[in-house]
Symmetry: C2
Subunit: 195 residues, 2 copies
């Protein structure tokens, strides 16, 4: 895959694009480098962009009144990330989005996204499909949170994303799974003693 057209290949998985359309799509994105620990979204600020990760990893999280961090989503290669609520309603963010590693992403500005959708129904279709899939994914996550114990949630994540589980810092994974980092540490020890 050429370094420059990841997003084209990605979108073509969902809708067919002519070469001209592919170019139009491509030019709506801006390639950005994001250093480890750099923030691209912060609470109280507007959310002008969504990000498609080409390389590296990012993490979205909220901080509650007690100062506890809760991971809302991760993004590695081929995934999208932003404060979704802030982005689609064009309101100020309530989340942080930060790079876990030095990363490269394609940044799409909200107004550019609107233009794409207005100019060509194929792009409208594309964004509809990824929103639908995102919704289905979030719903599966809600189901997991409601029906599984902490240990089962961890196992489930391991089964589905073994590579990602090894790449993420434990505190980030723990708070994504809805438990403390101390507790995940204990779960891991128990699991390793068994096997």
């Amino acid at each position: 895959m050429s370094a420059e057209n990841e997003i084209i290949n990605y979108v073509r998985k969902f809708v067919p694009l002519s070469d001209e359309e592919a170019l139009e799509l491509q030019s709506a994105f801006k390639r950005v480098a994001i250093r480890k620990r750099q923030f691209v979204v912060q609470p109280g600020f507007p959310v002008p962009y969504r990000y498609y990760v080409v390389d590296g990893s990012l993490r979205a999280y909220v901080v509650n009144e007690e100062g506890q961090e809760h991971t809302i989503s991760f993004a590695v290669e081929d995934w999208w990330i932003t404060d979704y609520n802030g982005y689609i309603y064009q309101q100020n963010a309530t989340m942080f989005v930060v790079a876990l590693e030095d990363s490269v992403a394609l940044r799409l500005e909200f107004s550019k996204e609107q233009e794409l959708k207005a100019r060509n129904p194929k792009f409208e279709t594309f964004f509809r499909i990824i929103a639908e899939r995102g919704l289905a994914y979030q719903q599966r996550r809600v189901i997991n949170n409601l029906t599984l114990s902490a240990e089962q949630r961890y196992q489930d994540f391991l089964d589905k994303y073994p590579l990602i589980a090894r790449r993420l810092p434990q505190y980030a994974l723990a708070s994504f799974l809805g438990m403390t980092t101390e507790y995940l540490s204990r779960l891991r020890r128990r699991a390793s003693r068994k096997s």
Copy 2:
């Protein structure tokens, strides 16, 4: 509002429709009466429809291995409901969807929805918007589940949906909020003693 064009008014909140388009939309739906305790979706069966509730209320829930029920979503007037994962991927359901009261809904068949979207980008836009909003909503729910205690989740629901909270059976609300019906009963008693 005429009894027959709820869906038109609803869709027009998001995209403008000519009278002709409104008619086209309308005719894609089938009006159905659903009796209390009647199921419209069951695990292991296909999910050919999504439902827009005109009157009454429905509940989507899963049952885990231990036999516990967990409410995934409710729908009252003006809300949509189905097994979303089963519907968009056209796979067999994993949820039940059942009427909590005698209800009336507008039923949209998957293939009809595809036709609507293919024929007119406005419909594509509409479904994109409701998927985006659904996604944002699910994400807020995940955040609530991760950051709030059982009592706070209940209070939050009360603040946002006071009318719905009074309409729902307690067991359904409790399992939606991620707690047992016994515990919600105790929370309510505590709350009433204070005030």
